[in-house]
Symmetry: C2
Subunit: 402 residues, 2 copies
């Protein structure tokens, strides 16, 4: 893997004849003068600059309460997604919940059914961990031939936050889960009582009952005041506005684990409970809709993640997958979290086909969509972790692989 | 260090006779019903719940442009400070800067003076790292006898973000810094042109010219569009609204490195350029102004950080410093970043004196204020990294050590 020093050497070599060499040697006439008057005072709760305008992309739909919005990944930096820009997927809108009245009930096949208020939950042993959440419908556009023209549309249903809450295993131990309990039916407090079945084995591993996101209370559209976090598993099972967990012997066979979020195979049968989001990556810069201003130095940037563990390596191809070279992977590489990768690159001005592929610490290599289709057939467009290709035209314009 | 399993056993033992055992076994009558109507639609840029009200504390002052505001650490979770709640310290207010007109000029003792636009900087090799920023005046209240009654007042001028930007060493290499250049005068774009002198050695180590904070553009009050990040060093040298870096042989002896932010010793001489913020920790829960509802299980929580490297260990005393036990330290323990610590604890109902102390990977142990005063004398209230004691009264009320 390249060291920072080797990166520096590359940068210097690359820029010797690049756009940078054209930097003016004097301060430009057009530069903004430093102000001569006092600026704004200290404030209670800050907002972003009015010059910034990245937003979640919302569909044009008569039912925005049953819809999704997409994180602007082309504008993303680092591994934390601003809470204000975390993707959304609602099934009956964002409920307005009073945390002083909210409760979580744990019942069913347990020795001691328990109900917790928010203040009771907040007193318990806690943990804070950085995890991605990705909708299993993310990148569905890339399964067929009508591919998305921007990374916000193709991959914007993935985001990453620092989540804080109570390990679910502590609550289960306190309630005394019975041996015959194999599943937990987890129910949200939205109007549709969105429910999913969670295997007890995963609940006893690394799940959180989370009340915090990025250092403050979880945001309303992410489940305020309480969300189930199921690290590395498809977004839908990270039940928002969590109000009830029932221990049972068999899964609920709820709508969102039967009619939705299953993978229809060629023989007409469907794969169900394909929970873990496999290793995936995407180049966020340069990406569709952007434009390179001319030949010279660029830093190829992107995000990689795996629901199975840590990102071990990310490779980038500039020739459509013929040859690959290792990207620099930003530390810390946290398990089941976004991992930022970068590669110094000189664009010579011709047509280029950029692709990234992630390799996680299980040794799994992110496949092409064609490889996935060969196994699953054409109908299974959930759980698409295939590679994404961006074309750079001779004019510098970046487009999808149409 | 306790494993999650030993923590779980402690929790179970602790809660057997605790408030938790009083949890109702049926859902309470007062619990909020799940709604029967659609909630709010997807949105472009989210905000927090109207039920949340943590804010930065602002002083009552006729000059709020030359003031500070304090992060509500008692409400903090994990290691990321929400950008909206990052502490502020302004010397002439927050300027309104158009990023399309902002430039950074690098000149003085360099082979090639350079001026960069924001878009030129954003093209260069980048890095994203989680670092704390702490004002060297943080905890000044704790030096004397008039101690602060809340952790927001005593320690709220420390915050932690994921910063993204260009390593400063790359810009210096590109400009060709001359061997006789030993210092960089770094100037901000606020009305007072706040300036500080940075040793070249540190600039070539780990400094960033940052344009990103927590996944989006840096916030106006943190230096939009460009801030110098000097990992682990006192907040004031992390120059905001960065517009000029001049390489020089001697430091500027600017106002904020002579009249301010120096440590006046007993003999009338002042220590200058005491840059690194030494290892420090503070208990955020229970902390001053909070109240324990009755004997039983509590999780003692807090933050530790060191400008020298990683937090190795945090110890907690419940008897005013007589005996100490190891807290659990949340991974990842990142260098020069906030580190969250926690300890399961049973309050028996009597008077308790809670203290935390941090030990970093240099072996340095956070001292008491008395130990610091013995070395520095009484006049040096900047750079106070002394231990902070919270008293829990027999009535459960938490107060400062008056």
């Amino acid at each position: 893997m390249p060291t920072p020093d080797s990166s520096r050497r590359k940068f210097l070599a690359l820029t010797a004849t690049s756009a940078l060499a054209a930097c003016s040697k004097q301060e430009s006439e057009t530069a903004q003068e430093a102000p001569s008057r006092l600026g704004a005072p200290v404030s209670a709760y800050g907002g972003r600059s009015p010059h910034e305008n990245a937003t979640r992309l919302r569909p044009s739909t008569p039912t925005p309460e049953e819809a999704s919005s997409l994180t602007p990944l082309a504008d993303s930096q680092g591994i934390i997604t601003p809470s204000a820009l975390h993707f959304e997927r609602h099934h009956s809108g964002v409920p307005d919940i009073d945390p002083d009245k909210h409760q979580l009930t744990l019942h069913g096949l347990v020795e001691r059914p328990l109900t917790f208020s928010m203040s009771e939950l907040e007193r318990l042993p806690s943990a804070s961990l950085i995890y991605f959440v990705e909708c299993s419908g993310n990148s569905r556009s890339e399964w067929g031939s009508n591919k998305a023209s921007t990374v916000q549309v193709s991959h914007g249903m993935a985001s990453c936050s620092e989540w804080t809450g109570v390990p679910l295993k502590l609550l289960l131990a306190e309630a005394g889960i019975k041996p015959e309990a194999k599943w937990l039916i987890c129910e949200g407090g939205d109007a549709c009582r969105m429910s999913r079945s969670l295997p007890v084995e995963k609940a006893l591993d690394d799940c959180l009952v989370a009340y915090g996101q990025n250092g403050e209370a979880i945001r309303p559209e992410q489940g305020y005041p309480l969300r189930l976090i199921v690290p590395g598993w498809e977004g839908n099972i990270n039940v928002k506005w969590l109000r009830r967990i029932k221990a049972v012997a068999e899964p609920a066979m709820a709508r969102d684990e039967t009619a939705k979020y299953t993978d229809l195979l060629e023989d007409g049968k469907a794969r169900q409970f394909t929970f873990a989001m496999e290793a995936k990556s995407v180049i966020t810069y340069p990406s569709g809709g952007q434009s390179l201003s001319g030949p010279g130095f660029y830093e190829v940037r992107g995000l990689a993640w795996s629901g199975r563990g840590r990102i071990e390596k990310v490779e980038i191809s500039t020739d459509g997958g013929e040859t690959w070279q290792a990207a620099e992977v930003q530390e810390p590489r946290l398990p089941k979290a976004f991992t930022r990768f970068r590669m110094p690159w000189r664009w010579e001005g011709g047509e280029v086909a950029l692709i990234a592929r992630a390799i996680d610490d299980t040794g799994y290599i992110q496949p092409t969509v064609e490889e996935l289709i060969a196994v699953r057939g054409k109908h299974s467009d959930y759980h698409n972790n295939g590679q994404k290709l961006w074309k750079v035209g001779a004019d510098g314009k970046v487009t999808e692989n149409a």
